[in-house]
């Protein structure tokens, strides 16, 4: 168990409203990731972070921003939600080298977001 929690677990919102999803980890992992999962697409990387205040874009970053002010928290913000952002969002961390987890990503339980 990589100690990853996501909040909220479910959210319904309306088009044009801002939404923030939170990922929290308890084991001081340096790398954190945000993905979205859509049928037929697998997982697609939105943004990732390699340390406090160090973030970079993934393949589907348009319409999303992230922040990481503390090691344990990685926030994903939809500035103005659209129906195309209806999806399941997963946070992940990269495991420790010492425990054989290097290069392995471990996932949170997900947030199901519906934009009406």
């Amino acid at each position: 168990d990589a100690g990853i929690t996501q909040s909220p677990r479910h959210k319904v919102t309306e088009t044009g409203t801002p939404v923030t999803l939170r990922c929290h980890q308890t084991e001081n992992h340096r790398y954190m990731y945000w993905y979205r999962q859509d049928p037929g697409h697998g997982l697609r990387l939105i943004h990732y972070s390699y340390g406090v205040k160090d973030t970079d874009k993934g393949e589907v970053s348009d319409g999303y921003s992230v922040s990481r002010s503390k090691t344990e928290d990685f926030l994903l913000t939809l500035e103005s939600a659209t129906s195309s952002q209806t999806s399941v969002y997963f946070c992940a961390i990269k495991g420790w080298v010492e425990t054989g987890g290097a290069d392995t990503q471990y996932f949170g339980p997900g947030t199901r977001l519906t934009v009406l």
Partner: protein
């Protein structure tokens, strides 16, 4: 460019029979290959990975995968399927020059009693 393909949307297997879930990939450097499983309404769970070494990799829940460099494949296998193996399986790949994992679209595995 990196890519990964899972050619079967769904695989149906009878309980007790061997199962195979296929994955092929394309990378420019040395591949790092992963299999994950997702049960309904759950996050993804790591099953196994190939970075280097033996081509046959053993993982969780009795699963194994064989790295075949010439065929650029990394098929997931299990000698005897259980009904509880029914889930969505994802293959992912990156090469040693890239940070980003590329994911397959997933294969739904259905094990029938």
């Amino acid at each position: 460019a990196q890519s990964v393909a899972q050619p079967e949307d769904q695989v149906n297997v009878a309980e007790g029979n061997p199962l195979t879930v296929k994955c092929t990939y394309s990378v420019s450097g040395n591949p790092y290959l992963f299999w994950y499983v997702q049960y309904p309404n759950r996050g993804l769970q790591f099953l196994l990975k190939y970075i280097t070494g033996d081509n046959l990799v053993k993982g969780s829940y009795g699963f194994e995968a064989e790295f075949n460099k010439s065929q650029t494949s990394f098929h997931l296998k299990k000698p005897s399927a259980l009904v509880s193996d029914s889930a969505l399986y994802f293959c992912a790949v990156r090469d040693d020059g890239n940070y980003q994992l590329i994911w397959g679209a997933g294969t739904k595995l259905i094990i029938k009693p």
